[in-house]
């Protein structure tokens, strides 16, 4: 019961937050930027909690670590993009945006490779076939 109430309160808070952003920000691109940033913060917080809950030196923790770093760079990209838009920055000040998004993609490639390795490590396809054969005997 308590959980349901908390969830409803959280949902109302999120909706009110979004409505407040819509009310105070007139530029649509900046508006989308702020909403993206708020989701980014939430993603980073949850990833950070997950990272602290998992045992050190485990594959799952490695993956979450890569994911978290990737998320941070994606967040920095969005933040810089919003700042560029608000302050109407030009020329060299735009470049960090490209650097952040490039690093984010690079880290997500590494995270994907970890997931690929993870699936190899934890998959039991061959053994499944063997057990199936044994059970048919």
């Amino acid at each position: 019961m308590n959980k349901a109430i908390f969830m409803i309160i959280e949902l109302i808070a999120i909706v009110l937050g979004i409505l407040a952003i819509i009310k105070f920000v007139s530029d649509k691109e900046i508006l989308v930027g702020f909403i993206s940033l708020s989701f980014g913060v939430l993603a980073i917080i949850w990833s950070f909690i997950a990272l602290n809950s998992l045992s050190k030196g485990t594959s799952s923790r490695d993956y979450v670590m890569f994911f978290l770093i990737g998320m941070v760079f994606l967040f920095l990209f969005s933040l810089w993009h919003v700042l560029v838009r608000i302050n109407k920055w030009e020329s060299r000040l735009i470049y960090p945006e490209y650097i952040f998004i490039s690093i984010a993609y690079l880290i997500f490639v590494m995270a994907s490779f970890r997931v690929y390795k993870f699936s190899k490590e934890f998959g039991f396809k061959e053994k499944t076939k063997e057990i199936r054969k044994q059970l048919k005997k």
């Binding site: 045992s55 030196g57 485990t58 934890f122 039991f124 053994k127 063997e130 059970l135």
Partner: protein, 183 residues
């Protein structure tokens, strides 16, 4: 060695979470007997999580006792490996400290078994006490027993009977359907 009443209970139930309290003297024989009932008599495939003996040793013992290894997926958390390593029969976790990897490996292994009836054999709770705080183990065992119900398996958690883990055993008993006192 395993009482007739316990055997009957194990045979009559399709899914359960059982805590097996074993004396250090009869530890190996009791484990082997339980596995024999599950694999050879009931022809149930399953997952054996070992924190006590390395897979290599277990495999030899099982072969000597004519236990059908091919129905078992082994998860070895005691053989020292720097990284995760996998062979066809066994996944080596590297250390009993890596509870997250043990949990994920168990989940994947149980779900990979192509049979409605399956078992999970956790050997043993007492070894976890060497590597973790009792609070952490209590949480892990609660998670494990909940998962065993979700997987609908015959779950057996082995623990040595000693004063050191009495409190933990008392906590664990409330999560289990059966307590097998195999002294």
């Amino acid at each position: 060695m395993i009482k007739k009443a316990y055997r009957e209970q194990m045979n009559s139930l399709n899914e359960y979470v059982a805590l097996a309290l074993v004396s250090s003297k009869n530890y190996q024989e009791t484990n082997l007997e339980l596995i024999k009932i599950l694999v050879n008599e009931q022809k149930t495939p399953g997952v054996y999580i070992t924190l006590n003996k390395p897979y290599k040793t277990l495999k030899k013992i099982f072969e000597q006792k004519a236990i059908n290894n091919s129905l078992i997926i082994f998860i070895d958390a005691i053989t020292q490996e720097e990284n995760l390593k996998k062979t066809k029969e066994c996944l080596f976790i590297g250390s009993p400290e890596k509870l997250s990897d043990i949990s994920i490996a168990m989940d994947q292994a149980v779900r990979a078994i192509p049979s409605e009836q399956k078992f999970v054999f956790f050997d043993s709770l007492s070894t976890l006490l060497i590597y973790h705080q009792p609070g952490t183990i209590a949480k892990f065992i609660h998670f494990l027993s909940t998962k065993m119900r979700e997987w609908s398996v015959k779950g057996i958690i082995i623990s040595l009977e000693s004063d050191a883990n009495k409190e933990l055993i008392n906590q664990l008993t409330q999560f289990c359907d059966l307590t097998l006192e195999l002294k």
